[in-house]
Subunit: 452 residues, 2 copies
Amino acid sequence: METTKFLLNEREMPTSWYNILPDLPEPLPPVLHPGTGQPVTPNDLAPLFPMGLIMQEFHPESYIEIPEEVQSVYHLWRPTPLYRALRLEKALGTPARIYYKNESVSPAGSHKPNTAVPQAYYNKKEGVKRLATETGAGQWGSALAMGCMFFGLECKVYMVKVSYNQKPYRRIMMETWGAKVVASPSTDTNAGRSVLAKDPDSPGSLGIAISEAVEDAGPREDTKYALGSVLNHVLLHQTIVGQEAMKQMEMAGYYPDIVVGCIGGGSNFAGLVMPFVKDKIKHGKKTRIIAVEPEACPSVTKGAYAFDFGDTVCTTPLIKMYTLGHGFIPPGIHAGGLRYHGMSPIVSHLARLNLIEAIAVHQNATFQAGVQFARTEGLVPAPETAHAIRVVIDEALLCKKTGAAKNILFNLSGHGHFDLGAYDEYLAGRLKDYEYPIELVKQALAELPKVA
Amino acid sequence: METTKFLLNEREMPTSWYNILPDLPEPLPPVLHPGTGQPVTPNDLAPLFPMGLIMQEFHPESYIEIPEEVQSVYHLWRPTPLYRALRLEKALGTPARIYYKNESVSPAGSHKPNTAVPQAYYNKKEGVKRLATETGAGQWGSALAMGCMFFGLECKVYMVKVSYNQKPYRRIMMETWGAKVVASPSTDTNAGRSVLAKDPDSPGSLGIAISEAVEDAGPREDTKYALGSVLNHVLLHQTIVGQEAMKQMEMAGYYPDIVVGCIGGGSNFAGLVMPFVKDKIKHGKKTRIIAVEPEACPSVTKGAYAFDFGDTVCTTPLIKMYTLGHGFIPPGIHAGGLRYHGMSPIVSHLARLNLIEAIAVHQNATFQAGVQFARTEGLVPAPETAHAIRVVIDEALLCKKTGAAKNILFNLSGHGHFDLGAYDEYLAGRLKDYEYPIELVKQALAELPKVA
């Protein structure tokens, strides 16, 4: 029987995160203060984040040691297994070899704890007692609730009201780990109260929830804010995924020709691919590295590369990124983790430098791929992950035509246990594909902030 | 850092199942034909099961080779990891070492696929096209839906109506793998129609669902029936768990002093413990082996050891087992997998021979243990599994008093991702403890079948 599972033991887990910043062929554009238009300083960020994380945003060295306390928590599910999807290959009749890194094995069900745990750790270390955050579908909120639990921090999650009502299991999971969860807009903040005053039935949005969490954290000495994607330090923490995968591909005996991940804010994708991007920069590797986004929210394939706000209500610094405009509200696709108007600065920069490419796919095609994966490999993937699988299958089918036995690696970023409602709609033929809403994007892009 | 994770690679996965029958110090009482009162023959069982499985019920040898096709599917999640629960130990302040075998990593989320996959395989091998089964909370139905998918069999699941309505995600998971799921009582069978004729709003029961599945399979040439616990061949397939755990405990450097599992029909418990029971029988080991059952459905601690029907409507052969009476309907505790009036013949026999012991625990105490586990080790366990964890914690706290550094091993039989509604009730203080319903049991035991 062929080997299909490549395992590392605890001692083989990487003990440093890989920081791509010093290896970039051109430096990353700075983040700007929205008032002054000048690059933000560490002190500008201090009300929201602990200095340990802020300094990682600007870190000059290629590797940052993972604190022992964080490694010890990682060991609860890391190193994660790398699988060869032999049954999927056979079903496709492809000569390609398909490998996936299984990040769904964390207790929260996705890659998100890789950053939630160190974020909780660095906050704890600097005396913070409490973290506030927002969550949409709940993957990030769950991960942070768990991270805070390990380090004895309180955790307050502002959960977009429509998800709070539709996904009670995610809420209960956070509460089981001890977090306090409220539906956003809530009456706990000025931002929430002002929205409710205008519209008591507001379904909420990620933009509103961010405003609530930031307002919660800003003035309180004991509380900081935590973000689950986009920022450099978040992507940094995810590089444990790619470093493990590289070792495991060595065990498998192949270097990937194609590496694939889905992108919302960009962290699971960047975490897997950055060590392979390094090989392109440093060793001239020709790997194709593909980011997959929803056709309904195609920031990299159709957005502008510009300075924009990270949130809807214009409270964050200005970030140079691919964006559909901070005012753009993506259509209600089920891959809630990919409904973000922008893209992390690092992923945007890598796309700009042609070190990675992006592809947009439709919702029904992604669920078709997700079901095909479940019916061959067993595991039911998250709708976000199914975006990556769609492109993996397409590339494998291309190999069938050309006869090329390419090695394809992708990040199985999460399971779909809490997304089965979406599978139900797909199986019943009720799922809608959304065309790229070009007029709404035009309007949103017209309102990009002016930067000198 | 101390090692907390003990992994086997694919080549180290056991390639045989362990069959305890020839090693028992006294032979297992035969299963009786309800009409004749004589031991059933393989032919009596042929309408419901393929001969490959039937012969495993009576197998005379200690080991049965696992077919390569089954091993290949097992590799999708097996060997499963064994963990040391160091964070739980610290939280308890116990000198005990606590280890758990994590069966929640299968795509269906529990140990059930260990038998669903070979059951589908042996049926396929004998030309069966379609399997019918019942499911309560959905763990077994999910596992069989997945097992059938791997071997191209159709799968029809009669899901108890109250669960069908309360747990749509389990239903969708089965459908995602291609199974057909109906709420039981259904209009698809005489049994279902007759129940609906009397009570159109019947919430259903496992007993009714079994009758529907058996009726579905019985007369059809192309269809057989599949059961997720109780029978010898089901327990046999689960011994892969205990054999792996034994190797992993060797890696950890300790032989367990106490081995714990929860019991409903008995399969996850038996699968873990039977190799350790063998060591007691053959090598005089003094291991304490503890089966944990709900106080609301305490078949081994409070039931009679007698011949009884396996189902509520008296269609199965008569099984010598600990039973609360086939007419006993257990109170509505959330650990649906433990709501069974009887106990597998092998587990009953082992208890009778004092090779294992049983303990009954209350619902709130089990959820308290489940939450403590989630808040230390991260993973949210299934309510069934939380029964085992309750006793593990109690034993570890006893070690704290006595100072004994005992080694405790338990089976983490499943995750609680689809049981979070029960956690919600527990956290809100709404969960009820059910006293042992002694009068109902007395009535049910008065109706045990008479055997000469």
